[in-house]
């Protein structure tokens, strides 16, 4: 196992221990928002690092569990004894599948399905469609104001080619502007008086 993977495993085990303590406290004080927030964040961290390190079964499993605590955070679900029990069992399961990420052990495979079913049923039917948020493209938007020099045609440049090149880089919306043309009768076609945003 690489050093990086051992850092990941150690981190997950530490977070699982922290989660266990928080859950035991939550059982005593089920309305403690701070505890719910801590639990959510620890699960979120496990999900994030598991996805990054290729532990996809761990990430998918924790994703469902995390969604429950996200809903409790938002006041859509309540903490129950059943939920805490399922979560505690889930922590043991996560501990095991971190060592068996491909679920080669039949017990782990079976438990993964069984616990996922229990988690989804706690969340209600609405949650049965598990959203896949593990693959998304980034979107970076730029606002470009392109005001060519009026004499740009003199050296044979066609500004439309520059716009074509821009289109090749990604989705574009062009808003042509003609504010510089004051009077159509005085319009000089050898000058570039339009511009784009």
């Amino acid at each position: 196992m690489s050093d990086m993977n051992s850092i990941y495993e150690e981190e997950v085990l530490e977070l699982l221990e922290k989660l266990e303590s928080s859950l035991l406290l939550l059982e005593i004080t089920p309305n403690d928002d701070g505890l719910v927030e801590d639990i959510f964040r620890s699960m979120h961290t496990i999900k994030g690092s598991s996805g990054m390190f290729g532990y996809d079964n761990v990430a998918a499993f924790v994703h469902n569990l995390e969604s429950i605590y996200d809903q409790i955070r938002e006041g859509k679900l309540e903490t129950t004894k059943q939920l805490i029990d399922v979560t505690l069992t889930s922590l043991d399961h996560i501990k095991r599948i971190v060592k068996d990420p491909d679920l080669k052990d039949e017990d782990n495979d079976r438990n993964q399905k069984k616990l996922t079913g229990q988690i989804l049923s706690i969340m209600g039917e609405e949650a049965l469609q598990v959203k896949d948020d593990f693959v998304e493209e980034e979107i970076i938007s730029y606002y470009i104001s392109f005001i060519p020099n009026e004499d740009i045609f003199d050296n044979g440049t066609n500004p439309l080619f520059i716009l074509d090149e821009l289109f090749e880089l990604g989705d574009c919306k062009i808003f042509p502007q003609f504010k510089k043309i004051e009077n159509i009768e005085d319009f000089d076609p050898t000058k570039c008086l339009s511009f784009c945003e």
């Binding site: 990086m4 850092i7 990941y8 981190e11 964040r41 979120h44 961290t45 999900k47 994030g48 690092s49 996805g51 990054m52 390190f53 290729g54 990430a59 948020d133 593990f134 693959v135 998304e136 493209e137 980034e138 979107i139 970076i140 938007s141």
Partner: protein, 122 residues
């Protein structure tokens, strides 16, 4: 001179993984465990780009971006959000706070580097 990237994540394994990826690609890195730690480190070093997680204790990613954008000297500092979140609401919030871009974890190494090279100041 090497460009310096500030990595902000409460997960040690992610900080290490992202750190190694960036060092291999020829960048220098500084690491911070949350937004509060990041802002302290940002003031002490010359940073060319901030790569931050969203959900962190104390000061989260959105709060960090907002704080960074309050200062004129960081007006053009690129801040990329690196997160497992994909909710449109969160994206809009990040964009409105002044974030430069959004990358969803788990990220592909090449894609991450391409985005960084695209936004980092020459």
């Amino acid at each position: 001179m090497k460009k310096n990237i500030l990595i902000v994540d409460d997960s040690e394994s992610i900080r290490e993984l992202v750190g190694i990826t960036l060092i291999d690609a020829g960048f220098d890195v500084i690491k911070a465990v949350n937004g509060k730690d990041a802002f302290k480190k940002l003031q002490k070093a010359e940073v060319d780009l901030v790569l931050t997680d969203l959900n962190m204790p104390e000061v989260d990613g959105i709060m960090l971006v907002k704080k960074i954008r309050k200062y004129d000297k960081y007006k053009y500092l690129p801040v990329l959000i690196l997160t497992t979140e994909s909710e449109t609401k969160k994206r809009v919030e990040a964009k409105e706070s002044g974030a430069t871009g959004w990358i969803v974890k788990p990220f592909d190494k090449e894609r991450l580097l391409n985005i960084i090279k695209k936004v980092i100041r020459k």
